[in-house]
């Protein structure tokens, strides 16, 4: 599926600027961005629920949106899972699933197969109002998959669920979608969700697709400091780049890639740092997570700079302890300082 | 527009103002107070009542409403009614209260202020203004030469679909009652059926017929004379004109508006004073000149441009004289199929 240079607006306020993504057959693409970045609008443009001002959408070999073309949503062969499930409250679970199968042979069989697939076979005659949120989303998934859509669009489908339930439903959905092998786009503002579900992730900001890549590419090679911070915890500190290394408060670090020498912003992930007993820094805060711990560390001779986040499996220090900070990673990402300033 | 706070303040101010206003308007309940229930609307009587107050110092509390509804209200209120005087647009409503024994007899002094033909034989009510039954016609649609001299001419097929009547209205019912008195039930019934057969159109009241004639919806209508003068005063382009039937025709009877005193009123003296006032010179002149009605007190002439009417024929006075009274009249109207 190809989405190319989509521009779209709400009440004449532009919300998408030349947004483009490519999703391969059978792939799960996560669209990640803060709320208001236009990711849901992009999804709705793909579904045909929102008309783009310009740009094209091609699903399979069918152009569904382009200048001069607009295929109605009902003819696009897209399935959609809404944030609230959007089950039709006056229809039973089975009737909901069968809704998109009108006129098909063996609709009944398909309905019960789909309900079985999502583990809701025993709830066919229940009304949505009598199901839990997680159950409703399963039925909604069965409903969306039943007509065998070319693309499945998931619009923050887990955000309305309780935290505990969310992880479970997310896992189940991922397994089901992998079984079915349907091309999927998942819209989410939750980086965990995007990374755990998506084969690839497209990060959006202010109506623009900023970066597209696998979760590890995004985490390790973010396109700019904003992405770096959005997809994970990031320490951004000042440094001087000499062509190979960057001089920073935590030492001289090997820089990935290349660029002009000069003042740079250096991205250091918390797990690339460690603390040892020492004197140059002080522990401001400790968050203990069991499998690891996170320290807020203030370097004493750099007043005014933000504290550094450090993640370690050992939790031997306490607030107020004097420590030294060490870089334990292999290399870091940097951006020239001006560019970093621009992207804010 | 304006912010919520302003709107809220405005509403509070509005409510406060309304409370004050309503308190003021009902704050006059001292000793010498007379309460009237008036089927005559405010415009038709208020100045006279104001004059009466100024003249006598008696405060007149006025409850306006539809004559029939007010009669029902007085009946329902029973002994608890605050009403001292009931003014009715037509004899039907006073007749109802008379039947229900809710009226107090008037003194001979009051009764003698009008000719015997326009007051109750038993002395329970007295007419104070008259409205003549006439045919209102649309000047564009009816040639004056074809205007009938008698209501019986309206049975002619030439008038098919052209007539408006108000069969459920008191004045029409009073007029039919009068027709029964003068010509007998059979003639009345036959005439009603002829009207129905002529596809007479049914309207709720006189003013609606006059308006319909003005619009050209019907060519002619059987109404009280008063309404067309009103319509002409409202709109000089109004297309309706009154036509009187022959003086002797049952169709040109006079329908009186009636005054009565409610049984049990502890203000009967003041009440009689008020009725005398209504029959006095200034009030009668008001009815003649301002509301285009026929004054009933002897010696007061109708307004110059109102054609004279005979006092001999006064409609719907004594229901008791007729079998079944008003009820039978209405049943005849219904049986004729005039209402449907």
């Amino acid at each position: 599926m190809n989405v190319t240079q989509i521009n779209a607006s709400h009440d004449a306020v532009p919300v998408l600027h030349d947004a483009s993504i490519v999703v391969e057959e059978g792939e799960m693409m996560a669209l990640l961005g803060p709320s208001g970045c236009g990711k849901t609008t992009l999804l709705r443009v793909i579904a045909g629920l929102h008309r783009a001002d310009s740009g094209t959408v091609v699903i399979g070999d069918q152009t569904v949106t382009s200048p001069g073309t607009f295929i109605n949503p009902e003819q696009r062969r897209v399935g959609m899972l809404f944030q609230d499930g959007a089950l039709f409250p006056h229809l039973t679970a089975a009737e909901n699933v069968r809704f998109g199968l009108r006129g098909r042979s063996a609709a009944k069989q398909r309905t019960s197969d789909m309900l079985d697939l999502v583990g809701m076979g025993g709830y066919a005659d229940r009304l949505p109002g009598t199901l839990s949120g997680g159950q409703q989303q399963r039925v909604a998934l069965a409903r969306a998959l039943a007509p065998e859509p070319a693309v499945l669009l998931l619009d923050e489908p887990f955000s309305a669920l309780d935290a505990g339930l969310r992880v479970q439903v997310r896992r189940d959905v991922k397994r089901i979608l992998a079984d079915v092998g349907v091309t999927t786009i998942l819209v989410t503002h939750d980086q965990d969700e995007a990374f755990s579900m998506g084969d690839r992730v497209a990060v959006m900001s202010d109506g623009i697709v900023v970066q597209e890549g696998t979760p590890s590419e995004l985490y390790e090679r973010p396109a700019n400091p904003w992405v770096a911070g959005f997809v994970g915890e990031a320490n951004l500190i000042d440094g001087q780049y000499d062509g190979t290394n960057a001089e920073t408060a935590v030492g001289s670090l090997v820089v990935r890639g290349d660029g002009p020498a000069g003042d740079v912003q250096v991205l250091i992930r918390p797990e690339q740092l460690a603390v040892v007993a020492g004197s140059a820094a002080v522990i401001d805060d400790v968050e203990y997570y069991g499998h690891d711990a996170r320290y807020d560390v203030r370097i004493l001779d750099r007043p005014g700079e933000p504290t550094l986040g450090v993640r370690m499996t050992l939790a031997e220090f306490q607030v107020g302890d004097r420590v030294d900070v060490k870089f334990v990673g292999s290399s870091v990402q940097t951006w020239p300082t001006e560019q970093a300033g621009d992207s804010d | 527009m304006f912010p919520p706070k302003t709107a809220r303040l405005a509403i509070v101010a509005l409510l406060a103002g309304a409370l004050v206003a309503s308190a003021c308007s009902s704050a006059s309940d001292d000793g010498n107070t007379l309460t009237i229930y008036s089927g005559r609307t405010e415009d038709l009587i208020d100045p006279i009542l104001d004059d009466f107050e100024a003249e006598t110092g008696i405060t007149v509390v006025r409850n306006y409403g539809d004559s029939a509804d007010l009669a029902l209200l007085i009946d329902e209120e029973g002994d608890a009614t605050p009403a001292d005087v009931f003014l009715s647009q037509s004899p039907g409503a006073v007749g109802f209260l008379d039947d229900a024994e809710r009226l107090a007899p008037l003194s001979g002094d009051v009764l003698d202020l009008v000719p015997a033909s326009v007051r109750d034989d038993d002395g329970f009510w007295v007419g104070f203004s008259g409205r003549q039954r006439v045919l209102v016609y649309n000047t564009d649609l009816v040639d004056p030469s074809e205007l009938p001299s008698s209501i019986f001419d309206l049975a002619d097929p030439a008038w098919f679909g052209r007539i408006g009547v108000a069969p459920s209205n008191g004045s029409f019912q009073d007029f039919v009652t009068s027709l029964r008195t003068t010509n007998g039930d059979d003639v009345a019934q036959e005439w009603l059926e002829a009207l129905a057969a002529n596809d007479a159109q049914s309207y709720p009241k006189n003013s609606a017929i006059v308006a319909a004639v003005g619009r050209g919806e019907v060519d002619v209508g059987l109404v009280n004379h008063y309404y067309n003068y009103r319509a002409l005063a409202e709109d000089p382009d109004h297309r309706g004109l009154n036509h009187q039937f022959d003086e002797t025709d049952p169709g040109s009877v006079l329908i009186v508006t009636a005054a009565s005193i409610i049984e049990g009123s502890d203000q009967s003296e003041e009440a009689e004073q008020l009725i005398e006032w209504l029959l006095g010179d200034s009030a009668q002149r008001f009815f003649a000149d301002e509301t285009f009605e026929y004054p009933l007190a002897p010696g007061v002439e109708p307004a110059a441009d109102i054609p004279p009417a005979s006092f001999a024929a006064v409609g719907g006075i004594d229901f008791e004289d007729l079998g079944g009274g008003l009820e039978a009249t209405r049943e005849m109207i219904t049986a004729a199929g005039l209402e449907g």
């Binding site: 045909g48 629920l49 929102h50 109605n72 949503p73 009902e74 696009r76 897209v78 399935g79 959609m80 809404f82 609230d84 959007a86 039709f88 409250p89 006056h90 009304l127 969306a144 859509p149 669009l153 | 709107a7 509005l14 309304a18 206003a21 309503s22 309460t35 509390v61 006025r62 409850n63 306006y64 409403g65 539809d66 029939a68 007010l70 009669a71 029902l72 209200l73 329902e76 209120e77 029973g78 608890a80 069969p167 459920s168 008191g170 159109q201 049914s202 709720p204 609606a208 319909a212 619009r215 050209g216 919806e217 009103r230 319509a231 409202e234 008003l326 009820e327 209405r330 209402e339 449907g340």
Partner: protein, 520 residues
């Protein structure tokens, strides 16, 4: 707290019983009088059967068309990208505010030579009807004056409906119309039914318009016989009330199954549905409705009014006190009606109380009882209930009459509003704030507000134009705009009637905007 399904709080049950009893007062009075006067059943039946049939036929027809029209207009002003939606939302509600006889008279004036509609019909080369009377005219005019009963609750429901339902249906292969039919309409059904029921009840109780339009119904019998043959009058009123009760009970049973809580509320600002090529057609349609139902009668009233203002017969200043009084009774009644019926709606919907269902039928039936009957019944009860005569001819009795007459308009809306608060939200609210009142205020009330506002709006619009009860029950000397209109119109003072009517329409518009639309 004991407010669980199994244990309905006592005060709620008590309230339901009390409300049912109070709303049944007019009916009980009518039954009592009918039995006491002993009207002849046989002759009454033969006299009444024709008008009764016509009442039912007209009410069913008007109910159907007003429901269709009101629903269509609601969708256009709430969901579509119709130009000027905000303005239409207000304008399209206003036809409700014409007192029945004034609206019909103004409409007929507009059809007559010199009137707007007359000119329009002529300008398209047609012959304007000389006489606009009978079934079809009554059907059309009543439809145009009553569709707001449907428009308001349906619009409130549409606003609360999540867009994802229709969109879900679209991506599942339904066309736009198909999605509306299969998903939206079932969600709107309770609101449509509630509104359609009000239209039906209004139509069977209307006297002024149907009489002026020459269609003979049951109310004519009640009015025409009210002095001359009270037995027939009260028997006819009994029939009317039984008809209203039957239809209300039917509507309750045909209404949403209370075991199927099928109301959903949305959390998102919904995008407007693009009308595309039919945008102009839709605009033309909405304009046509506003033109015929609002502009044409208002222009007629203005014509009457301007003549009087021009030659000084009409003094606007005299309308100040009636204006304030009208606003006052309208606002007080609207608020009180909502306050009275909301607990009833709660106990009906959440506790599925049978008592409350019976009470609800009594409340609904009150709308079909002609105002004069309600007024007389309250006179009767106030004066014949020991210890209550002090209330007679006081302001509270007048307000009580209004609430009894128009409570049904708030009830339908209140039930929809109560359903709009899902159980989960109520329960999570309960965890967050221990105070019941705080919870209602902060969590439940905002969700119920669109529904309640639409109900209060209907009550307000009905109250400000109410006449018979106002004339008979208001403290003596209490003038409202509608008593002014009546007094003037009754004797053909059209200039004055027109001016008061215009002021009434303007006031209603302002109040509707300020109290209902701005908040919904």
């Amino acid at each position: 707290m004991s407010s669980t399904r199994s244990g309905t709080p006592n005060w709620l049950v008590g309230h339901a019983v009390l409300v049912g009893a109070v709303f049944a007062l007019p009916g009980l009075f009518v039954f009592f009088r009918a039995a006491q006067l002993g009207g002849d059943l046989g002759s009454t039946a033969s006299e009444v059967v024709g008008p009764l049939g016509r009442s039912v036929l007209l009410a069913l027809s008007v109910g159907a068309t007003a429901t269709a029209l009101g629903t269509m207009l609601a969708w256009l002003v709430v969901r579509s990208d119709l130009p000027g939606r905000r303005m239409w939302r207000l304008l399209l509600v206003l036809p409700l505010v014409f007192p029945s006889f004034v609206g019909a008279a103004a409409f007929l004036t507009s059809l007559a030579p010199g009137g707007l509609l007359h000119g329009l019909i002529e300008s398209v080369g047609l012959e304007p009807p000389r006489r606009f009377r009978g079934f079809f005219p009554a059907w059309m005019v009543l439809t145009l004056f009553t569709y707001p009963y449907v428009l308001l609750p349906v619009a409130a429901r549409l606003r609360a409906l999540p867009s994802s339902l229709e969109e879900g249906a679209r991506v599942l292969g339904r066309t736009r119309l198909g999605a509306i039919r299969s998903v939206t309409l079932p969600q709107l059904r309770p609101a449509m039914l509630a509104g359609g029921l009000l239209v039906f009840l209004y139509t069977i109780s209307d006297f002024g318009a149907v009489q002026l339009l020459g269609y003979d119904t049951l109310t004519r019998v009640i009015f025409a016989t009210r002095l001359s043959n009270r037995g027939v009058s009260f028997l006819s009123a009994t029939l009317l009330i039984l008809l209203a009760v039957a239809i209300s009970a039917w509507a309750r049973s045909a209404g949403p199954d209370q075991l199927r809580p099928d109301e959903r509320v949305g959390r998102f600002e919904r995008p407007a549905e693009p009308l595309g090529s039919i945008r102009l057609v839709a605009l033309g349609f909405v304009s046509a409705v506003a033109l015929v139902a609002l502009v044409a009668p208002v222009l007629s009233l203005l014509t009457w009014s301007i003549r009087g203002l021009a030659d000084g017969r009409v003094d606007l200043g005299e309308l100040a006190v009636p204006l304030l009084n009208t606003a006052f009774v309208g606002i007080v009644t609207a608020i009180l009606a909502v306050v009275v019926v909301v607990p009833l709606a709660v106990v009906t919907i959440r506790h599925r109380s049978k008592v409350a269902n019976v009470s609800s039928v009594a409340v609904t039936g009150g709308f079909a009882v002609p105002g004069i009957v309600i007024a007389l019944s309250l006179v009767f009860w106030a004066l014949n209930t020991p210890g209550f005569s002090f209330i007679y001819q006081t302001f509270p009795l007048l307000i009580l009459a209004y609430v009894i007459h128009f409570g049904s308009q708030a009830l339908g809306a209140a039930e929809i509003a109560v359903r709009a608060v899902p159980d989960e939200i109520r329960e999570s609210g309960r965890l967050l704030t221990p105070s019941r009142w705080l919870r209602r205020r902060q969590v439940e009330f905002p969700l119920m507000r669109p529904g309640l506002a639409s109900g209060a709006g209907l009550v307000l619009l009905s109250t400000v134009k109410e006449l018979p009860a106002t004339l008979l029950l208001a403290p003596i000397g209490f003038e409202t705009l509608s008593t002014e209109i009546w007094g003037a119109y009754e004797d053909g003072f059209y200039a004055s009637a027109g001016t008061s009517s215009i002021v009434l329409v303007a006031l209603s518009g302002l109040l509707t905007w300020a109290l209902v639309l701005r908040r919904a």
